[in-house]
Symmetry: C2
Subunit: 402 residues, 2 copies
C-alpha cells in the first residue's frame, strides 16, 4: 500500500473538526446547540447580487479569463479607489476565495523552507496553506492582557533569520477582532523594508470596523509597492461564503506575473461567483449600515455579558465578528467537548472554538476560546446565558485573579 505524503501527515486538522462528533451527540440528545464556533454569518446575501445570478443569461458557462472577468476587475478597482487603495484592473486577480489568494501568495513569493512570521492567535488555516506550500510559520505572541495589539518591533526583529521572507497579518483580525492601527502598520513597514520581505495582508473583514475607527490598509503604506500582497474575499463582506470568490492584489508586477502562471494552470475562478461578486459591488450603503447595527448590538451585548461572568475577561473587539475571551478553565478543548457532551441548560448548549488551535506556541490558548458573534441577538442572549450557567458548574473550573 503506497504511503501518504509527509506534508499530508503534517497537515493540521481544523481545530473545530474534532468537536463535530460531540455536536452530533448533543443534537441526538435533542439539545439546541448555539454555534458560536464558526464564521458563517446569518446575515442575508444582498438580494440584488443574487438576482444577478438568476438573470445571468448565457448559453454556455465558459471558462473566464484566468485573472477573472475584466468587467469585474475594473469595477473592483473603482471599489478600492473609493476606499483610498489605488489599484488598477491589472493589479487585481480574482481568486477562488481568499483561500486561493493566500495559496498563490505563498507559492509565488516563498520557497519551501522559507519562514513567515504571524502574530498569534491567528486564523488556523494559515497553517494549512503554509504546510501545503512547504512554508514554516514562526509565531509571535500577542496577548489578551494587551488586547491582542501588535507585539513590539524588537520582538519581530529577534525572530528574523535568513529564511524569514514575510509577515502575515489579518486586519481586522480573525480570531481576536483586533484592528491594527496606522502606527502598527508603519512599524510593520519598517521591519519589512529593512529586511526586504513581503507583507501579506488579509483584509477580508475590512468593512467590519466599529466605534468610529477607520481601517488602514497595508496597501496604503508608502514605498511598499514591491512588498505588499493584499488578500481579499467577498465571503464576509456580502455574507456570500459559498460563492468562493476572493482577490489577490499587488502592485509588484513580477509577483503578479508569477501568480498568474499558477492561476492559468487552474484555468479560471468560478463564473457564477464572479457574477454575484461584481453585482454585489452595487450593494447600497443601507445594507452595510444595517449589518453594522446588527453586529454592534451583538458585540456590545456579548462583551458586557461575558465580562459580567465571574473570572471571564473579554477585550472589546474593534473589528470583524470574533472575540477571543479568557475563561476560568485550563483546557479549552475539554471544556468545549464537555459543553457538547455533558452540559445542558434548559435543553440548550453552546459550541465554542478552543483558542489553542489558533496559537502555534504549544500551551497557549488553553484558557481562551474564540466566539463568533454571528447569531441573531435573541440567540446570542440565550447562548450567553448557557455559557454563564455552564461556567458555574464546570468541573474543570479554575480560580483566576484578573
Amino acid at each position: 500500500m503506497p504511503q501518504i505524503s509527509q506534508r499530508g501527515n503534517e497537515m493540521p486538522a481544523s481545530p473545530i473538526r474534532k468537536l463535530v462528533p460531540f455536536a452530533e451527540i448533543a443534537k441526538q440528545k435533542g439539545r439546541k446547540v448555539y454555534h458560536l464556533n464558526i464564521g458563517q454569518p446569518d446575515i442575508k446575501t444582498p438580494e440584488a447580487a443574487m438576482l444577478a445570478v438568476k438573470n445571468w443569461d448565457v448559453k454556455v458557462v465558459e471558462y473566464s479569463h484566468s485573472a477573472g472577468h475584466l468587467s469585474y476587475r475594473q469595477k473592483l478597482s473603482q471599489y478600492y479607489k473609493g476606499i483610498d487603495i489605488s489599484v488598477d484592473e491589472n493589479e487585481i486577480m480574482i481568486t477562488t476565495g481568499g483561500s486561493e489568494a493566500i495559496t498563490f501568495a505563498f507559492l509565488a513569493c516563498l520557497n519551501p523552507g522559507d519562514e513567515v512570521i504571524i502574530p498569534e492567535p491567528f486564523y488556523a488555516n494559515y497553517n494549512g496553506f503554509a504546510t501545503a506550500a512547504g512554508v514554516k510559520v514562526i509565531p509571535i505572541t500577542s496577548t489578551i492582557e494587551n488586547n491582542f495589539a501588535l507585539p513590539p518591533v524588537e520582538e519581530f526583529k529577534a525572530l528574523i533569520g535568513p529564511r524569514t521572507k514575510g509577515i502575515v497579518i489579518c486586519n481586522p483580525n480573525n480570531p481576536t477582532g483586533y484592528l491594527y492601527s496606522k502606527q502598527e502598520l508603519q512599524s510593520l513597514r519598517e521591519i519589512v523594508l529593512e529586511n526586504d520581505m513581503y507583507l501579506f495582508s488579509d483584509e477580508v473583514y475590512r468593512e467590519f470596523v466599529y466605534d468610529g475607527e477607520t481601517h488602514f490598509s497595508a496597501m496604503q503604506l508608502e514605498g511598499m509597492e514591491s512588498n505588499v500582497i493584499l488578500m481579499d474575499s467577498v465571503s464576509k463582506r456580502y455574507s456570500a461564503c459559498g460563492v468562493r470568490i476572493g482577490a489577490f492584489i499587488t502592485k509588484n508586477k513580477e509577483v503578479m506575473a508569477t501568480a498568474m502562471k499558477f492561476a492559468q494552470a487552474r484555468l479560471s475562478p468560478p463564473s457564477y461567483g464572479q457574477v454575484i461578486g461584481e453585482a454585489a459591488l452595487d450593494t447600497p450603503k443601507q445594507y452595510f449600515d444595517e449589518v453594522y447595527q446588527e453586529y454592534i448590538e451583538r458585540r456590545d451585548y456579548m462583551v458586557e455579558a461575558l465580562n459580567k461572568m465571574q473570572g471571564v475577561y473579554c477585550p472589546t473587539p474593534k473589528g470583524a465578528f470574533y472575540t477571543v475571551v479568557r475563561l476560568p478553565i485550563n483546557d479549552s478543548g475539554q471544556f468545549a467537548q464537555w459543553l457538547l457532551e455533558e452540559f445542558a441548560y434548559e435543553n440548550q448548549t453552546v459550541m465554542v472554538a478552543p483558542a489553542d488551535g489558533f496559537y502555534s506556541t504549544a500551551g497557549l490558548g488553553k484558557n481562551e476560546v474564540r466566539i463568533a458573534y454571528v447569531l441573531k441577538i435573541e440567540d446570542l442572549k440565550s447562548a450567553m446565558k448557557v455559557l454563564e450557567e455552564a461556567l458555574k458548574v464546570y468541573p474543570g473550573r479554575t480560580i483566576l485573579s484578573l
Copy 2:
C-alpha cells in the same frame, strides 16, 4: 525588492499563452480567427441544469461541507454505479474543478522531489500542478506512428527509480484523443502494484468515446483500492467549464482523509457550481446523443480533411475532442505564430496549439499541433480550408515522406 520563488520561476507558462498577442494582431487586421487551440466547447450547457441555479432559493450563500453537498455526492455515487464504478458518497470529494482534484492528489500522495511518470504528449497543466507541489514529471513518449498508444511496459519499468511514486494518465486523452484499452489499463495495474505506486487517472472526457468503443476506468481495475485516484470534472461532460466543479475519488481511506485536510483548509467548493453539477446529473440521454452526433460529424470531417492534405497525418481519435496531427513543418510554434501574424485566406485564419508544449522531452512535437474540434461544422470546414491553403504557402514547409 524581495525575490519571487524558485517554483514561481520554474512554473511553466501555458503553451498557448504566448500566441495570444498574435491572435490580437490578427483580429486587429480584421481577420476572422478560428480557435482550434482551446478545449472550450461551443456546446450549450444543459438548460435544466442552468435552471436549477436560477431556481436555487437560499437567503444566504453559505459554505458547503468541505467535501461538497452530501446530496450531490450521493447522486454522483449513483451516476458512477451506473457506469460500473462502485464508489459511495464518502469516497467522493467535490473539488473546485478537475484542477483542484489533481492538486489534492499530488499534495496528499507525493512528497517534494517525488516523481510521476506521464505518457507524453500530455495535458500541459500537469506540469504546473507538479511544479506547485514540488513533484518531478518523468515523461514516457507515445508516438504518432503508434497512434499514441500506451508505451510498452518495459519502457515504464526502465524509468522507475526510488522516487517514482505514481503514474498519471488522461483517458480519453487530451491532447491526443487516444482511448486506453482494458489491456493497457491492466498493464498499468501490473506496474503500479509491483512498485507500490499510485495510479492517478484523469477521466474528464469519459463520455466522449466514439466508434462503439467503451471506456474502461482505472476504478474498474481489481485489487487497486489503495492505489487508484480518479480525477473527474463536470466541465466537458456538460459543457460547463466555468462552474469549476470536479471530483477527487478514491477508495483509499487514508488518502481521502489526508486530502480532506487540504480541502478543509480551503473551506468548500463553489456552491452555485455544485447546484448546477447536481442538477446536470439528470441530463437526458438525448443531450449526450446530440453532442455525440455533433462531435462524431466534426471528427470524421476533420480527420478526412487533414489526411487529404499533402504531408499531413492525423490518427483517428477514439475519444475526447482533440487530435494531435503531424504537419509538414519543423517548428509548430513558428507556424502557429505565422498563421496569426502573417497569413490570411479570404480574410480568415486559424489558431492552433503547438504540440511541443504537450511534450516534456525537448525537441518533440515540433512538427505537430493539437487541434480541438470544438467548432460547429461550418466553421470547422472553413478552418480546415484555411489550414490547407496555409500549408501550401508556408515558407517553413518541409517535405516529409510518410
